[in-house]
Amino acid sequence: MLLRYTLRRLILAIPLLLGISVLTFALVHLTPGNPVQQQSAMNPRFSADSIKALRALYGLDDPLPLQYWHWLSRLARFDFGFSLRDQRPVMDKVWAALPATLFLNVVAFLVALGVAIPFGVHSATHPRTRFTRAFSGFSFFAFSFPGFWLALLLQLVLAAALGWLPISGILSPGLELAPWWQRVPDFLWHAAGPILVSVFGSWAVMARYVRNNMFEALHQDFVRTARAKGLSERAVFWRHALPNALLPVVTLLGLSLPGLIGGSVIIETIFAWPGMGRLAWEASTGYDYPVILGVSVLGACLTILGNLAADLGMALLDPRIKVQ
């Protein structure tokens, strides 16, 4: 039953993937002044060979439908061509950058959730205390705080002035060949800054979401029924209110997915964290078409997969969802 549900959802994703292929095709081929002309005009570095490579890559001399077919078949093979910067295959670069981004964003998401759930639940169960009001105010402040400014301030204060955190990078120089038990703590130390900035921005929104769900759950009729049965407040909270309040968190996960993959562009750039975000930034300032398109398409694929996983999770957890 679950397998059929998964297959059905995968099939539904095909039009989406086709749509993405059409969109990216349009971006490359139909914009005024095709990329090759723009490239060479703006960047005299481009040799005749580069231009020839681009024309071959995008088949810009062929009729349009044929071009699209070539594009589609290459996308299906995840062949995005070669980076204009260093001629490496785009997929290689993206693949190498993916783990760093996933680590950063997934850990940040989990930490933010870990902070948001207790705060959100508490402010729903104690609606008018001073603590809750202070928390609301602080979360509003955090929500408005520009993330990249926080990163810069962190670098300014903690790194430059106090030296508590490294300014950038993923590993201290010289440790690349060190044994794992030396590399891991160093890696985590480097990850602390980016994760902190990412969490600061996202926990406020999550906490509000959790709070609203918890508040609603606490005022549902079935909570009254549970109390009428004589259950203790603890039992009412843990067994009836909380499960119903936290179920939408899986939905939240689904909604956060694009952000989990692409949301860290600026943070990665500031901290020189070698992930997909920084790759995207390098590609955009360098007009490296193949790479930026590859990053976007792959990001979209990951989002679709992730949404499917979130839907499956909901289907497993919520008995109201029919898995036929």
Binding site: L16, G19, F143, S144, F148, W149, W281, S284, L293, G299
Partner: protein, 274 residues
């Protein structure tokens, strides 16, 4: 809408006044700024905040305060036009999609789905690469990528309003679908639009700052809070004021707009807010 006075209560009043002052300051920048924001003075570069330059000078000796005042123009201009553009676009598309139904609805929603699949920053960067950097393209890109959320919301409202009696009455009276949509349905679907517009301005300002910070937005020598932060980053250790003040400007603006947005949400959509 009624209850204007009740809306501007307490912190919201402060926010409204603050934003009004900000907008005024941006408009009157040429008269308010103490110096020419583009005036280069190499000898006076990286000067600390003091009497002659209240917020210091940057790496080219330009007065930071003046650049911040002029930067407000950029932020507000981009924020307002981009947010307005994407809200109008999204509202129209969502309304048409919801009202027409059928293949029009399917097509538009699939299109929105495709756009929403690609992580938004990647999409924005891709579009900037295709279109080129600069302030006008930033506005265009924000409009092209920001319409999907409000379109969904408006579509939802329109779908539920479609079946209401007053709509059926309007249709029965022989009005064209466009007239019914624009004069009867849409005015009743506006609640999420006001909230979305307000938060959209904040989002657009953040996006412009971020893009300018990355070097893909407003191009030098024009002053933008984001590009000032990027430039300040180079001299991070020697000149803390280059990083602190532009960021403070962004933070203050965000707090003011978000406060208005929260008030709008409480007013129009009481269930969603804090």
């Amino acid at each position: 809408m009624a209850a204007g006075r009740a809306f501007f209560r307490g912190p919201t009043l402060v926010a409204g006044l603050g934003l009004g002052l900000l907008a005024l300051g941006a408009l009157l920048a040429p008269w308010l700024a103490p110096a020419d924001p583009d005036h280069i003075d190499i000898l006076g570069r990286l000067g600390a905040p003091g009497l002659s330059h209240w917020l210091g000078t940057d790496a080219l000796g330009r007065d930071v305060l003046s650049r911040i005042v002029y930067g407000a123009r950029v932020s507000l201009a981009v924020g307002l036009t981009a947010a307005l553009g994407s809200t109008v676009l999204g509202t129209l598309l969502g309304a048409i999609s919801g009202y027409a139904g059928g293949w029009v609805d399917e097509l538009m929603m699939r299109g929105a789905d495709v756009l929403m699949c690609i992580p938004s920053l990647f999409l924005v960067l891709t579009l900037i690469v295709v279109l080129g950097p600069g302030i006008y393209n930033v506005v265009l890109v924000i409009i092209l990528t920001g319409w999907t959320d409000i379109a969904r919301l408006v579509r939802g409202e329109v779908l539920s309003l479609k079946q209401r009696d007053f709509v059926l009455a309007a249709r029965a009276s022989g009005a064209t679908p466009a007239r019914v949509l624009l004069r009867h349905v849409l005015p009743n679907a506006m609640a999420p639009v006001y909230v979305s517009l307000t938060f959209g301005i904040a989002g657009a300002i953040m996006m412009e700052s971020g893009l300018s910070f990355l070097g893909l937005g407003v191009q030098p020598p024009t002053a933008s809070w984001g590009s000032m932060l990027s430039e300040g980053r180079e001299s991070l250790q020697e000149a803390w004021w280059l990083v602190v003040f532009p960021g403070l400007a962004i933070l203050a603006t965000m707090l003011l707009i978000n406060q208005l947005g929260e008030a709008a949400r409480r007013h129009f959509d009481p269930k969603g807010g804090l």
